[in-house]
């Protein structure tokens, strides 16, 4: 990735937190290069049947909105205020105490006051007050209300696509106001008049048709997984099977497509395959449900449901007992908080039981989908895996809690348990930057595109700096995570702020350490890099 067009780290870190002179309501959003994302193409909007497909870009003066755009937006707001208590309540109860302000990674990294969650929400609230509250209708500006204009719509677009829906602010808010919820509403409203970004709409369109965000067709998925099996054989001497669309498998395995498309996610995917082979799991991948991620989460609740429906449908068609899910952040937000409600009940599946340990996953008894780190932690706990952590000795590891597993699941201990068994050198980052206070990679919620690079580096800065601290203190050189978006966005973030730190999934680390039946002596890790100590051993 080229950082040529954005400021150098030393310049970017000179952040000005003093707000500007002009009140925010009188300061139009400026679409500065490097801080916004390209618009959704007409092609992808048409494929999904979304309104107002056309050719336009955010910096354009004319956004080619439908003539009655204002009525559409206000009617959309009215409808959502009636359908979501969260939306109505969060419009009403904020006291502007400002506790959320410096919790947002985009505010910390940019100093732009409208990136304070409180103001990002006020962008919508001001319009809500003007059209839906008596005091706003009566007192206007005095009550914090303002008219909905094209400039306001553009401001919404700019700032709702500078929020990664990470929910960090909601952990600090005394009323639990969740900016992710407000951003989701804002984006839904923008979608009604055809204002969306291509990094969301194109993956969604791909996913709808081909089953995955990247648009990989069935043969492609087969080739990729076969290729992984070759690589695994090369590194370990063990040939793993590639079960795909297999009826009668006990478990359907669903993972984000990023895992079979791009490094370093691919090594994590190889890790899953090695683990499943070693424990003799009767499982299958699916080409139809070849995506656990769900970019519907970044456009509308309806789109979440449309894209998510495949998982249960495929589980039913293949006749599996339950579903296992790979390492992914927003995928797990959807599975944890939306899937069962939207597309359940999954009464055709069985309550998940590990076929290896007999452990009943009580916490997934309704949704019938288990997170792979829960599954693997249970295997380790029951002594079902032979692990040689010294094979990861070249890695001095820290762990990045991905936003959604952290603040929508509370999945903190399971990944740490695996890392602690698979690695000898594990170091936590500063307390204010991990677990429920974890900081976003800066590229979630559809913002991980190249045109938005400056904003990504700004938003990811707080995370990167926490890594830098453990790098300097403990020599950390590996950032582990359980999220495919992280695996795509953290490597450039590290290259920019903390060169020398690589990124991997937890199951890549596990697979490096996993002693497989019938394996040859391993001299390299999954990436083909020599194992530390091996060279020394040979000279002894």
């Amino acid at each position: 990735m080229s950082f040529a067009k954005i400021p150098k780290p030393d310049d970017l870190i000179a952040i000005q937190y003093e707000p500007p002179e002009t009140p925010w309501m009188e300061t139009p959003a400026v679409f500065r290069p490097g801080t916004w994302s390209y618009s959704g193409t007409a092609k992808s909007l048409t494929a999904l049947g979304l309104p107002n497909p056309r050719s336009w870009q955010p910096p354009d003066e004319d956004w080619k909105l439908p003539e009655n755009w204002k009525e559409i937006i206000l009617e959309g707001m009215r409808e959502r205020l009636e359908k979501y208590r969260s939306f109505k309540l969060f419009m009403d109860v904020c006291v502007r105490c400002g506790a959320c302000a410096d919790k947002c990674h985009f505010y910390i990294g940019s100093g732009d006051p409208r990136n304070m969650p409180v103001l990002r929400a006020e962008l919508l609230r001001s319009v809500y007050r003007r059209y839906f509250t008596k005091s706003g209708k009566l007192f206007g500006r005095l009550a914090g209300a303002r008219d909905l204009t094209v400039d306001v719509l553009k401001e919404w677009f700019y700032y709702f696509y500078q929020c990664t829906e990470c929910r960090r602010c909601s952990a600090f808010c005394p009323f639990g106001i969740d900016q992710a919820e407000i951003t989701m509403m804002g984006r839904e409203l923008l979608n009604l008049v055809g204002c969306n970004i291509n990094w969301v709409t194109e993956p969604a369109a791909n996913c709808f048709r081909t089953g995955n965000h990247l648009g990989i067709q069935p043969g492609g998925i087969k080739d990729i997984l076969d290729f992984f099996a070759d690589d695994i054989e090369d590194r370990t001497g063990v040939r793993v099977e590639v079960p795909l669309n297999k009826k009668g498998a006990e478990i359907l395995f669903v993972t984000p497509s990023g895992d079979y498309f791009a490094d370093p996610g691919t090594y994590t995917c190889m890790g899953y395959m090695m683990l499943f082979h070693e424990i003799g799991l009767n499982y299958t991948f699916s080409t139809y449900a070849s995506e656990g991620g769900n970019f519907g989460l970044f456009s509308s609740h309806e789109m979440i449901k449309r894209l998510n429906a495949k998982i249960y449908a495929e589980a039913k068609r293949l006749g599996v007992k339950w579903i296992l899910g790979g390492e992914c952040g927003h995928m797990w937000r959807v599975i944890q908080q939306y899937m069962d409600t939207m597309n359940g009940p999954a009464d055709f599946l069985e309550e998940p039981v590990s076929p290896i340990t007999g452990t009943r996953f009580e916490n997934a008894r309704s949704t019938k989908m288990v997170h792979i780190v829960e599954f693997t932690a249970d295997l380790i706990r029951n002594g079902k895996l032979k692990i040689d952590p010294s094979r990861n000795d070249a890695q001095r590891v820290t762990f990045h809690d991905s936003c959604n597993p952290a603040r929508a699941m509370g999945l903190f201990e399971e990944p740490r348990y695996i890392i602690n068994h698979a690695c000898n050198h594990f170091y936590e980052m500063a307390e204010d930057t991990i677990r429920e206070k974890t900081l976003c990679c800066g590229g979630g919620a559809g913002l991980g595109n190249d045109e938005n690079l400056e904003m990504r580096m700004r938003g990811g800065m707080p995370r990167a700096m926490a890594v830098k601290q453990v790098k300097e203190k403990h020599g950390v050189n590996r950032l582990a995570c359980i999220c495919a978006i992280d695996r795509a966005t953290l490597p450039p973030l590290m290259d920019y702020w903390v060169p020398g730190v690589t990124v991997s999934g937890v199951h890549e680390l596990l697979a490096n350490a996993l002693v497989m039946t019938g394996e040859k002596e391993r001299t390299t890790d999954l990436r083909g890099e020599p194992l530390e100590g091996k060279a020394v051993d040979e000279t002894l």
Partner: protein, 331 residues
């Protein structure tokens, strides 16, 4: 915008004071003493209930708990029942911590860029003074019940005795009075002094604090500097309760301002951000258990959507699937 919003709220407060004094020197006292109390109280109660009902009527389609601690998963992993509750008892505990101790605000930190990196400093003052303010307000409100109940309930006297435990001055300075003054002053000053807060503050944000400060100040003035005839005040309050209000004599002009502020607060409350008092109980990120995968949450308006079925998928890719050696439903 910040300073203008401050001035507007200050002017509004001044107008309220002048109106109160106007009433005090006019023949409208009966209106203030006998009509407004009922009107304000009715608006407050009806308005409050109306707002809460409006919120409660909106469904909670999804269980969107914000988890701030370890989930309940495998039995050997220690969960965090109050930060990530998996059952109703945990939720009650979590809500109690939020409502009584402002748990989430206690997490507050402050970011500074020091030596080219963000540093997260402790920032508990907001939590401390907010808590001080809210608890004092509750105690003061409870103490005021002495005016409305005859004979005065034992617990009210007990509360007052504890509140005035240190017996500073005559009459005794209540700790809650000092605390609320400190709390409100902190909240107000930080809104003026911190540039970011000035930037986000609306007229109503200043107004709420100034109005409460006005009520507290006039209350303190009456207790310590311009004593109001407490018997008269009590008779007035009892008159309201027994629906036989009578305008008192010799309660002092400050009392008029005090009352005027209180009635303004009651009337404005239901349409203001102060409704967070009711709203906090309804917040879906806090009052729902993190038991999503254990129990199915129902969405009352869950509607069918257009999906891409497996049949449609196979129809498009059948040849490619066969070519790749993948099983198909239809040959």
């Amino acid at each position: 915008m910040g300073s203008m919003n401050l001035w507007i709220s200050l002017i509004t407060i001044l107008i309220l004071i002048l109106s109160a004094l106007g009433v005090a020197f006019s023949t409208l006292t009966f209106f203030l003493m006998a009509v407004l109390p009922y009107a304000a109280f009715t608006v407050f109660i009806v308005g409050f209930i109306y707002r809460v009902v409006q919120w409660a009527k909106a469904p909670v389609p999804f269980r969107i708990t914000t988890t701030c601690g370890q989930q309940t998963s495998l039995p050997w992993i220690k969960n965090a029942p109050l930060e990530s509750p998996s059952n109703i008892w945990g939720v009650i505990g979590r809500m109690a911590l939020e409502v009584f101790l402002f748990r989430s605000l206690f997490r507050n930190t402050k970011v500074d860029i020091l030596q080219k990196r963000p540093v997260y400093g402790s920032a508990k003052w907001l939590w401390f003074f907010s808590l001080l303010f809210h608890w004092s307000l509750l105690i003061i409100w409870l103490r005021h019940l002495r005016f409305f109940i005859e004979p005065i309930a034992l617990w009210i006297n007990g509360l007052s005795a504890v509140d005035g435990f240190f017996k500073i001055g005559v009459p005794t300075l209540y700790l809650s009075d000092a605390a609320i003054l400190a709390g409100l002053t902190f909240l107000f000053l930080r809104r003026i002094v911190v540039p970011q807060l000035r930037y986000i503050s609306l007229v109503t944000d200043y107004f709420a604090l100034l109005l409460l400060l006005g009520i507290v100040t006039t209350g303190l003035l009456m207790r310590h500097f311009f004593p109001a005839d407490l018997l008269q005040v009590k008779n007035l309050a009892l008159g309201w309760v027994t629906f036989a209000p009578a305008a008192p004599k010799g309660v002092g002009k400050v009392f008029y301002i005090h009352l005027c502020f209180v009635f303004t607060l009651l009337t404005w409350f239901p349409m203001s951000k102060l409704m967070h008092m009711g709203g906090i109980f309804l917040s879906p990120t806090r009052n729902l258990a993190n038991d999503n995968r254990m129990r199915r949450h129902l969405n009352p308006w869950n509607a069918p959507v257009k999906v891409h079925t497996y049949e449609e998928y196979e129809d498009e890719f059948r040849d490619k699937m066969k070519l790749a050696g993948l099983p198909v439903e239809k040959e």
